[in-house]
Symmetry: D2
Subunit: 153 residues, 4 copies
């Protein structure tokens, strides 16, 4: 099962949430697992979109309590690792989609380049990053799926 990571802030406005929800839905339709940090905002919208489409949603949580997982998470990975769990979100993904996002997302995006994990951005303010920018959820998920498939060939 391919694994598509979705990264983005734990708070977001309705437009960004709609985009993230659509990304989650498309990832589920592709038959890939959606990997995220398991909390609110972009993570929650993408997770709920994937779950409602019948997908598998892995939430790699900073704490120890599954009740902190957003309602879209089907498999909570309670790590107790705090922010170090961000590294796991990147490492456990075959390709990553960054949606909007602040410094936490920037840290994860930079880690993608460091580790060679394919990254595409959508509605992202992150600047000066050498990654493609998708115009639509469809384009982002198609690109991520292709790179994920290539990675383990």
């Amino acid at each position: 099962m391919l694994r598509i990571g979705v990264i983005g802030g734990h708070l977001c406005d309705d437009d960004i949430a709609a985009v993230a929800r659509r990304v989650g839905e498309l990832v589920a339709w592709e038959g890939a697992a959606l990997v995220c940090g398991g909390l609110g905002g972009v993570m929650e919208a993408a997770a709920v979109g994937a779950r409602d489409a019948g997908g598998v949603v892995v939430g790699i949580l900073p704490g120890d309590d599954i009740r902190t997982a957003n309602p879209g998470v089907t498999i909570p990975i309670t790590t107790g690792l705090g922010e170090a769990r961000n590294v796991l979100v990147v490492k456990a993904s075959d390709a990553v989609i960054a949606i909007a996002g602040g410094w936490g997302t920037m840290s994860e995006a930079a880690l993608c380049f460091k580790l060679g994990v394919p990254l595409i951005r959508l509605k992202s303010d992150l600047q000066n990053l050498p990654s493609p920018i998708a115009e639509t959820p469809e384009e982002a998920v198609e690109w991520a799926m292709e790179r994920a498939r290539e990675r383990w060939e």
Copy 2:
């Protein structure tokens, strides 16, 4: 989705493998996700048993390469954390079944007591542990499912 951890050595004989395989099968039939360290021996037998029964198998791997996952793993979590990933196997489980096992398993079992994660043993040589010992895979899985359900009530 409840999460049942299975811990045990990365090498095991055929009798232990048959027991582990049966445990995996029963966990899948119960509709729970099986969580394990993703490598060989007990982990592999349990994972293959669960996957063949249509279950979800989370493999929390020490390294970065999904090709190190045993063939039963359906969701590889490549952590790059080395042995520190053992802590995650315990933390990401609602209850744990220890099958046979050496020092790595003992370390995880002790962590269960430290953290309050319910643990039951099956064909286990680990001594002086204050946890029940199951006679059969059926008994182990039934006990683990009950404790897992109670834990988040």
Copy 3:
């Protein structure tokens, strides 16, 4: 600089504290760094003993706030990793001395065997472990220093 780990419970009685304090003092006199989990009980007594003898004390803390370190810690390593930091205490030590201790200590002791880190016990209730038992702090520190020196030769 050699690194001697001291593991033990975060609560202990006065007799155990006196033993731990003496162990810390001897480690400092040997010119080794004392590595511990940075909190109370055995960790604190050993740390204070080492610091008062002019030694270096590394406290590998579960949280993010240096104010949780006991007063003997001279170098707080705030990890935010929760209990996963226990693995680091073992990994960052060339040899380990276990004093008394409960399940957390047992988990770390088992990890020593798994990883091949030399372990000696002092006033320890931990049973069925294949490690020597020292009668005195002097014997424990001498043994640990010898094993630590051998390890990197």
Copy 4:
């Protein structure tokens, strides 16, 4: 003992190395511990500068072998955590100085903003970061020491 983190690439040219070495020297003269990732390039130059000035140098290593530590490290923390150890370099520092640097450094810098750890840059190509840029090692270390002192007041 205050803890000043130095982050930067594991490869660097002679000019950057001279700057990093001077930073290390100044940190040691201030009586602070220098925290770094323990490998080559900027990490090594800063570590050797601090050690030669009599300072304490904590190297938080990705692997398990102290022989991977650069010769300036006086206290190797062998974590076996891979790139997740980068998070610990940031978390175990009261303030951070970024010297030059690539994507790994960018990931750590972004984490500083996320976590509220004071960051100053020196000879840094990292763009669009809301942190001051120092012209000299003296300015960087003075700023970092001030922020580190303020942080725990």
